[in-house]
Point group: C2
Chain length 125, copies 2
Amino acid sequence: MPDPKHMESAVHEYVAAFSAGSADRVAALFAENATVEDPVGSPIHEGLAAIHAFYSASMATGAKLTLEGPVRVVTDYAVFAFAVHLEWEGGAKRIDVIDSFRFDEAGKVAEMRAFWGPDNMHGFT
Amino acid sequence: MPDPKHMESAVHEYVAAFSAGSADRVAALFAENATVEDPVGSPIHEGLAAIHAFYSASMATGAKLTLEGPVRVVTDYAVFAFAVHLEWEGGAKRIDVIDSFRFDEAGKVAEMRAFWGPDNMHGFT
């Protein structure tokens, strides 16, 4: 099982790297054949090339992440609540999200699922 | 797909019913053959009788739940962060948890998973 402190650190690096706009740093947290489902129910991005491209596009909005409360860590999971803040079409928008990271034995994220839906989007109308 | 507002309401009822110490009200939210895994990695409680017994035992501690931030709702999932507060062996304890509820077509919780580990337990030493 991956080390709990390592998993918690990976979440903090994810939030910092995303807010810094570095798709390279974010992708470095994932396993070669990892999957990203963001939001849950949408098509899954599989493999590092697809994941890097997905994050590059997401970061093009200039979005920043704010962690909310402690990272929950159990077995090979780290789960955490956060808000996405972005400026879009002249107004401040916020999306409330909970992400789940499942890690592999090497300490890389093997599966990421992002839980947010229309009711979690604010300022978009 | 179950209605998002129904799923969000079910979470609020869960928090209120748990804090009120009513295993009946909590069990009423679950499907007949539902599964509860709390925490993730522990043996799964399956079916309403097992689930009712599990919650009765959990509530015997007098634990109260405090929801933290908005419920994230997407497809058939409601995911939410909260804290468990309890008095035990003369001191105040807190456990930080994120629960995931997956609902069935009838709007009942079919699968519950609770994400919390040793690093999320405070005041227990």
